[in-house]
Amino acid sequence: MSFDRALRCRECGREYPLAPIFSCEFCFGPLEVAYDYEAMRGRITRESIAAGPATLWRYADLLPCDAAYRVDIGTGFTPLQRADRLAEAVGLRTLWLKNDTVNPTWSFKDRVVSVAIARARQFGFEAIACASTGNLANSVCAHAARSGMEVYVFIPDDLEHGKVVGSAVYHPTLVMVDGTYDDVNRLCTELSQSYPWAFVNINVRPYYAEGSRTLGFEVAEQLGWRAPGACVVPMASGSLFTKIRKGFSEFAELGLIEEPATRMFGAQASGCSPITTAHQAGTLNFVPQKPDTIARSLAIGNPADGYYALKTMQETGGGAEMATDEEIVEGIKLLAETEGIFSETAGGVTVACLRKLVESGAISPEEETVAFITGAGLKTVEAVSGDVADPLRVPARTEVFSEALAERRRAAAEPAGAGAR
């Protein structure tokens, strides 16, 4: 059973009944789900969780929806793998990767959408909607297909064909909006007020966002019921960043782990870095930006949870970094070459920023760190396609192959700059 109790304003603390609303009527602050932790205590144990399925639904009692309404496509409980080769490359003793590329639609968005669609069904919505350039749309479409709900997806009209197909294959109503990102933002905000649809990250956002806590739950459980020393998390709206930390804190509140001392570090692309820029300037007030980066899954210039992400950094003694497009591509390649994980651009941002955080001393070499890899690389192949290993092109003859291989090995053994790759 769910222990959700009310929606509470994150600014003024006013409470509201659980409904499809997202902002406080008094101060317009964002609403967040409040739980009855007293009732949870003792009923949610390590044993009760461990007895659950190997998906995020093992934490069903901690989610703000009735599990009877779930649309289960097998999301969550993704691997937490030790990354010794990447650790050595970036200068850490102990590094773990939370590999969320292996979710059903290959990104962490399956977590938030799982919760949003369950709650939407519980509210009685028959249609679900979102505005997205990629991962979120893929996940919403897949969940809608599985549930039989109507689905409306709004996309900018300049979106690459591959990203359109990734949603279109599930046969949603796809709406290409003629206009800028700001126009799509404005249109969808207005539509959420006039159409009886569950817009996953607008009117059901308080529930949607809670799905990200499962990343914190899983990491703590997979580490043997404890929180790590540091986390490096990609930031778009900033919600994922704050909710991972909330997951650790709630586990502590329930007595499942010790009080966490985890320092939270955020990663952004230089071409869209409102949160990191504000952190580096020492303020909690970010200035919205116009995104210009290859990391389009993180391209949110006006992050709804930016202020709360900055507060989380402040409270945990964490910080933030940013990576250029070149550093992002290097990060993707480094992750692939050392740990066998092909990440989309957001993972490149995380790895590049992790490296810079260790280099700058913000994260110490001794600090046990978890880096969150949130989406798979096949979604953004164009980011690295001109910058990966060249194939050996040979006819089907052994001696020609052996000759070409020897030549490749000779070239690889030459000092950098002495010959072609």
Binding site: F28, S132, T133, T189, I202, A299, N302, P303
Partner: protein, 80 residues
């Protein structure tokens, strides 16, 4: 009569300008501030604009011409 909840973000050079006061005088809209913060780098105000939809559009367009960034209250909802 309609209302729209928005966030105004001001660059430092605009922080001292009475932009919201002027919006309310130049256009037939009611401005109702609910939350705000200003520091030396940036200022933001969350407010509700009430009036005829076309008049609200004109008021927002004018504020944007002055250099104010105007966003929906929900922030950017187009996610990756």
């Amino acid at each position: 009569m309609a209302s729209r909840r928005v966030r105004f973000t001001f660059e430092p050079e605009l922080v001292t300008e009475p932009v919201i006061y002027r919006v309310g005088h130049l256009y037939d809209v009611v401005t109702n501030i609910r939350m705000a913060d200003v520091d030396e780098r940036v200022g933001w105000v969350i407010l509700e604009l009430s009036g005829e939809p076309a008049e609200i559009d004109r008021a927002i367009a004018w504020a944007e011409q002055q250099g104010v960034r105007v966003d929906p209250l929900a922030g950017d909802v187009v996610e990756g």
